[in-house]
């Protein structure tokens, strides 16, 4: 285990891992690390640039149009951003892996159906569908978590189908069938564990995609609604003040961008390390 960990971690990667750990910590502890109450308004101290002070104290990243501390809001936003991303990604992954394995293993009509569905999904502007869905059903966190998995499952389904096709003809799968294993047990104990590393790599990349999509929906005002907050929502709110207070939109944007970048770095390293083992 230790040599694998050593091979996996390098100093460059450690920075990204540290960043992600910090975000995770923010998400888990909520406002614990926030310097101020993120919802506390103070109109006299509105639109303060980064590194300025108000009667409350020092504002590292400035304040918004109602005098709320931006850093505190970004820390508070980590929770919902990460939560929505993880849940949606997990649901999308479960759907995609299940459909992909069924399609790849049984082939035929099931395979064609699943693949056409995933192609239709990819061809359609799913973002518009999501907008329509959320406009009709209402912009709640639950509805966002329902619609987001539909953006990611095709990627999982295609990867898993291809991997299942490859593994299905592997001799150890044939050997498992020859010992009387059921389809379920072949899929569960022979095929799935052998492609798990690849699924994990994709899952990390797709987590970034889902977080970006959530930010997009919130930016359009049909995602998470205030007083709850996500980074996407912060960007949306800051947009109106872009000319006078650039930091309100840019800084949460950078935080989101770095998170997605860190996830990509992690998955790339993960792919490189697990490649030899898998």
């Amino acid at each position: 285990m230790t040599p694998l960990l050593q091979r996996f971690l390098s100093w460059g990667l450690l920075i990204w891992v540290g960043y992600l750990l910090m975000i995770t910590l923010f998400a888990l502890t909520g406002n614990e690390f926030a310097p101020y109450d993120p919802t506390r308004q103070q109109v006299v101290a509105r639109l303060l640039p980064p590194f300025s002070s108000s009667s409350r104290g020092f504002h590292w990243l400035g304040t918004d149009q109602l005098g709320r501390d931006l850093l505190s809001n970004m820390i508070a936003g980590a929770r919902l951003t990460l939560f929505i991303g993880l849940i949606s990604n997990a649901v999308g992954m479960a759907i995609g892996v299940a459909l992909g394995m069924i399609a790849g293993y049984y082939g035929g009509a099931v395979d064609r159906l699943v693949m056409r569905l995933s192609e239709a999904q990819t061809a359609m502007p799913m973002f518009l569908v999501a907008i329509f869905f959320l406009t009709v059903l209402g912009p709640t966190v639950l509805n966002v978590v329902i619609i987001l998995p539909s953006l990611v499952w095709p990627a999982f389904a295609r990867l898993v189908r291809a991997e299942t096709l490859r593994l299905r003809s592997a001799l150890f799968v044939e050997a498992a069938v020859a010992t009387g294993a059921t389809d379920w047990s072949v899929l569960w104990s022979s095929i799935l564990p052998n492609m798990a590393p690849r699924i994990m790599v994709l899952a990390v990349i797709e987590l970034g995609h889902v977080m970006l999509a959530e930010a997009g929906l919130s930016f359009l005002g049909i995602g998470v609604q205030p007083p709850a907050t996500t980074w996407g929502l912060l960007i949306a709110r800051g947009r109106a003040y872009l000319a006078v207070a650039w930091w309100l939109a840019i800084l949460p944007g950078i935080m989101l961008g770095l998170t997605v970048l860190a996830l990509n770095m992690l998955s790339r390293r993960f792919a490189a390390t697990s490649g030899s083992a898998a």
């Binding site: 293993y105 049984y106 082939g107 009387g180 059921t182």
Partner: protein, 333 residues
């Protein structure tokens, strides 16, 4: 002897491919008695493996296969069983050892678990009982320190040891019939003989019947008393192994035997390979399958199926010329 353990009648296995219907097995019949061993010899593509795979219908879900004939195992026609019923025959009554031990084991599952899984499925053993039984099986096939190695992954074992694990999986439920599909082809010669000795020993101890599939007559001779030679999906000759080795009555068998290196032969002896390749047979074919490569073939061989002729002592050969040309003269010396 009472009714045989396995009786195959006119087995035909056809693959429906993009190029047409491929007749991989074309009217094969044979009988295998309880505790007996039969060897199936032939080149790649002769249909010897497909014959064995047909017993348990071990084909990929995308292979379009049609199997006809009868496969009576313990009086039950396996071809009439549903997939779910057949699953209880696989591994429990008929087990298979495959050619390549390096890829026949699940690379991410501890080897002990892979043995225990079969026991849990067929015997309904609980985890601790299956673990204990799996370790006993590892001991039985000659793996040292089974308790310590139970949780090791396949990559931590050598090829010969992995084949022992494959054999442990196969015999876990004490099947009545073991099919060994070229079990030693991927192994070193020294390991090869160890594995063959292991198979012989287990067959005696557990009272299993054996179908040994190989292109190597030496492997067959080491494990079986009866052999059949296949070519182009058909059995061209069968008989006791001594008869096959010393008095081959089919030109194909004779040609195969000429290619076996002999330790008492001349040092720089040249081998004369059989010219040509075995051609896959699509659609309807006429005549002897080997006629295209046979040095003795005449017009009759190309157009009409040769009759099977019994030379006594269960030695049967399907060749037009066998009676006339080979019966008197052909010996290996």
């Amino acid at each position: 002897m009472s009714s045989p353990l396995l009786e195959i009648k006119n087995l035909c296995t056809q693959f429906h491919t993009a190029n047409g219907i491929l007749r991989a097995v074309d009217g094969v019949s044979f009988v295998l008695h309880d505790r007996a061993a039969i060897g199936v010899v032939g080149e790649s593509g002769s249909g010897k493996s497909v014959t064995a795979l047909s017993l348990l219908r071990l084909f990929g879900p995308l292979d379009k296969v049609s199997i006809s004939g009868e496969i009576l195992f313990d009086g039950v026609d396996l071809l009439k069983l549903s997939e779910a019923e057949l699953r209880h025959v696989r591994g429990r009554q008929i087990a298979v050892v495959f050619q390549d031990p390096l890829t026949s084991l699940n690379p991410v599952m501890p080897v002990g678990e892979q043995i225990a899984e079969t026991l849990r499925f067929h015997r309904g053993l609980k985890k601790p009982a299956a673990r204990a039984r799996a370790q006993a099986l590892m001991e039985l096939v000659g793996l040292a320190e089974p308790a310590r190695r139970y949780d090791d992954l396949p990559e931590q074992f050598s090829g010969g040891m992995r084949q022992r694990i494959m054999i442990a999986i196969a015999i876990a439920c004490e099947p009545k019939l073991l099919i060994a599909d070229e079990p030693t082809t991927a192994l070193d010669v020294t390991v090869q003989s160890q594995v063959l000795m292991l198979l012989n020993r287990l067959r005696q101890e557990l009272g299993m019947a054996l179908i040994m599939i190989s292109h190597d007559l030496g492997v067959i001779a080491a494990t079986c008393d009866f052999a059949q030679v296949m070519y182009g999906g058909r059995v061209v000759e069968r008989g006791h192994i001594q008869d096959i080795l010393t008095r081959p009555n089919h030109p194909y068998t004779a040609a195969l035997l000429r290619l076996v290196p002999r330790i008492d032969g001349p040092v720089n002896r040249r081998f004369a390979p059989i010219p040509g390749q075995p051609a896959p047979i699509f659609g309807a074919a006429r005549g002897c399958r080997f006629s295209a490569r046979c040095e003795f073939a005449d017009q009759r061989c190309h157009t009409d199926d040769p009759p099977a002729h019994d030379f006594g002592n269960h030695h049967v050969s399907a060749c037009w010329l066998a009676q006339e040309r080979f019966a008197a003269t052909a010996t290996i010396e």
